[in-house]
């Protein structure tokens, strides 16, 4: 059962991703993107990362994608662009290069990742910890101890983004 659900979610994720790349209009691409992100959230649930799954839906698929949608609407980009996708030799080269990287990742890197993950004793799995403290608690502990500096500077990062966006979007004159 699990593997069936995973198969469906994975198919939607990959299909959505391909839809983003080959979507005929920005809106279509965006909707494919949301589908892909949503099914990714499902995969997170299957990986027991409930908190991230929620964040994924709320922040990623929700807020950020809406921002995209808003801009696409604002710029009135709904219609189709024939010359949007590069054709001919370019796309062939693109497939070649990305295929090469994909091939390397799939044939060399990820098998080793499999071995590596298999080498961990099951006891180390974070599931027990999650069962003990709840997922929020488990994430919060390093976030507010080791990574407190990073967390604070994430605040600065968001502030910078706001200032930058304001400075750019504000019409001068």
């Amino acid at each position: 059962m699990d593997s069936l659900i995973y198969f469906v979610l994975a198919s939607v994720t990959v299909g959505g991703a391909l839809g983003v790349v080959f979507g005929r209009s920005p809106i279509a691409s965006l909707l494919f993107m949301i589908a892909s992100l949503g099914s990714t959230a499902g995969i997170y649930v299957m990986l027991e990362a409930h908190f991230l799954a929620a964040i994924q839906i709320i922040v990623y698929a929700g807020a950020i994608m809406v921002l995209f949608l808003f801009v696409i609407m604002l710029l009135n980009l709904g219609h189709d662009y024939k010359r949007d996708i590069r054709g001919g030799l370019a796309i062939l080269f693109a497939f070649g290069v990305t295929g090469g990287i994909g091939g390397l990742l799939a044939s060399r890197v990820m098998p080793e990742g499999t071995l590596l993950l298999n080498s961990y004793p099951t006891g180390v799995s974070i599931d027990t910890e999650i069962a003990e403290k709840g997922i929020i608690g488990v994430i919060a502990e390093p976030l507010f101890n080791e990574y407190i500096v990073a967390f604070e500077f994430t605040g600065v990062l968001l502030f910078v983004a706001i200032v930058g966006a304001l400075a750019l979007a504000k019409r001068s004159d």
């Binding site: 990959v14 370019a90 693109a94 502990e141 994430t154 968001l158 930058g164």
Partner: protein, 98 residues
Amino acid sequence: MLPTQVLFLSAVIFVVGTLGVIVRRNAIIMFLCIELQLNAVNMAFVALSRYVGIEGQLFVFFVMTVAAAEAAVGLAIIISIFRHYESVITDDFSFLRW
């Protein structure tokens, strides 16, 4: 085993995102493909965190924040260029070259 399968999935999504950046001319869709890449990274982190440790999920949290920040500035830049050229197709404004 699920995490390893997700690891493979993340590789696939990453490659698809990369492909998108190379073949699309529309700045917004290129940006969406970059978001796909980030999503692949997130997937890898989550899959790995299952055994390696909780920090992986923490990193996803940071990556999402950065993605949000990038989205804000990136879309502002796209709006800004749209004001000048009435287009977001990158070929329409490739004046800086050679």
